[in-house]
């Protein structure tokens, strides 16, 4: 029993020496921490005990409790839900994009074809004029009335001129008689 303890202490001395030289492995350092925290430490090593006890204590300290864990897990599952709705929104956006492109194509095709149908089936002259025949008739009538009134005005002027002709004829006649 005594011998085993001495062997253990010898081993710890060797490990400590390695530790200070920076040559100890992680497992050997674990062994040191375990030794100094659990076993009876001989006097000549006692001054280093608090160091390994300190490391052990700090390393096993539970700072963050179950509440923290639950908080994190709740946030994770919450944001999962948000991700889903985000994906759904993306899906909606893609569908909307395709639908918008489809509508644009349909509308353009429709307008192109409408233009072509109209130019082929209707007379070019009528394009853009009144389509209701009665209204067109009225319009034409109005236009003709306007023209005829202007023509009559012109005719009155011409009647005045015909008086001049009469006078000129009379003058010519007298001239001829004088020459005779």
């Amino acid at each position: 029993m005594e011998l085993r303890k001495m062997a253990k202490i010898k081993r710890i001395e060797i490990l400590l020496d390695k530790y200070w030289k920076g040559e100890s492995s992680i497992d050997q350092e674990k062994e040191l921490r375990a030794f100094f925290s659990t076993e009876e430490v001989p006097d000549h090593l006692a001054s280093f005990a608090p160091l390994f006890q300190y490391f052990d204590k700090q390393g096993s300290k539970d700072f963050l409790d179950k509440d923290f864990e639950e908080g994190v897990l709740n946030t994770l599952t919450d944001s999962e839900g948000k991700m889903d709705s985000g994906e759904r929104f993306n899906l909606f956006r893609n569908v909307a994009k395709i639908a918008a492109a489809f509508i644009v194509i349909v509308v353009t095709v429709y307008f192109f074809n409408r233009d072509r149908f109209e130019t082929s089936s209707n007379d070019l002259v009528l394009k853009g004029s009144i389509e209701n025949p009665e209204m067109a008739y009225d319009e034409v009538k109005k236009a003709l009335v306007l023209i005829s009134s202007k023509i009559n005005k012109g005719k009155d002027q011409v009647k005045e001129l015909s008086k001049m002709n009469k006078a000129a004829a009379l003058f010519n006649k007298q001239n001829k008689e004088n020459n005779k």
């Binding site: 530790y19 200070w20 030289k21 920076g22 992680i26 350092e29 674990k30 001054s47 280093f48 608090p50 160091l51 006890q53 300190y54 490391f55 204590k57 700090q58 390393g59 300290k61 539970d62 700072f63 963050l64 923290f68 864990e69 908080g71 994190v72 897990l73 946030t75 994770l76 599952t77 944001s79």
Partner: protein
């Protein structure tokens, strides 16, 4: 970790990631010196890891990966703090850090001396000795987390331990 083929289930997360939370918290605290902020950082990192679950199989070491994320997130937080409070320097922040009194009273005088010694070590030594002696990371992992080469890790660890040994022997010689 190879069993994490491509996605991480909630069970994987509970089993592999959540148990690291205290290590992550201690690491964040060592940067931020503020328990609430450290808690926030750990929470943010855990949530990020969950969403990056698909990438996780590419990292052979989840713990080291989480620690690196905590470091980056903490440094970001510190940077934004500095931005908000221009003129606040590192020393002032260390000076205003008051560890929770309950935690402090649990420690013996020698442990307080050890804690103070570690706290006042140069940055690299401080983080290396914490990651090795408290958290139990390998040299390789520490070099990944802190982005130092292996030799730097070993040298800084050696110096930190030497300093602590010196303080302990001094305390023993002169009484605390």
């Amino acid at each position: 970790m190879s069993r994490l083929a491509d996605t991480m289930t909630l069970e994987d997360f509970k089993e592999l990631v959540l148990p690291v939370k205290n290590k992550l918290f201690r690491f964040a605290l060592s940067f931020l010196k503020n328990e609430e902020e450290a808690k926030d950082v750990v929470q943010e990192v855990l949530i990020k890891i969950w969403h990056k679950g698909k990438e996780i199989s590419f990292y052979n070491n989840i713990e080291a990966w989480c620690m690196t994320m905590v470091k980056n997130q903490s440094l970001d937080k510190l940077k934004s703090k500095h931005f908000n409070l221009p003129g606040v320097d590192d020393h002032k922040e260390i000076a205003t850090y008051a560890p929770d009194p309950h935690h402090y009273s649990e420690l013996s005088d020698t442990m307080k001396l050890i804690e103070n010694t570690i706290e006042t070590l140069p940055e690299k030594q401080k983080y290396v000795i914490r990651l090795r002696d408290i958290e139990g990371f390998s040299y390789q992992e520490i070099s990944e987390i802190l982005e130092l080469d292996l030799n730097q890790v070993k040298v800084n660890l050696f110096r930190a331990r030497k300093k602590i040994k010196h303080e302990l022997l001094n305390a023993e010689a002169y009484g605390t």
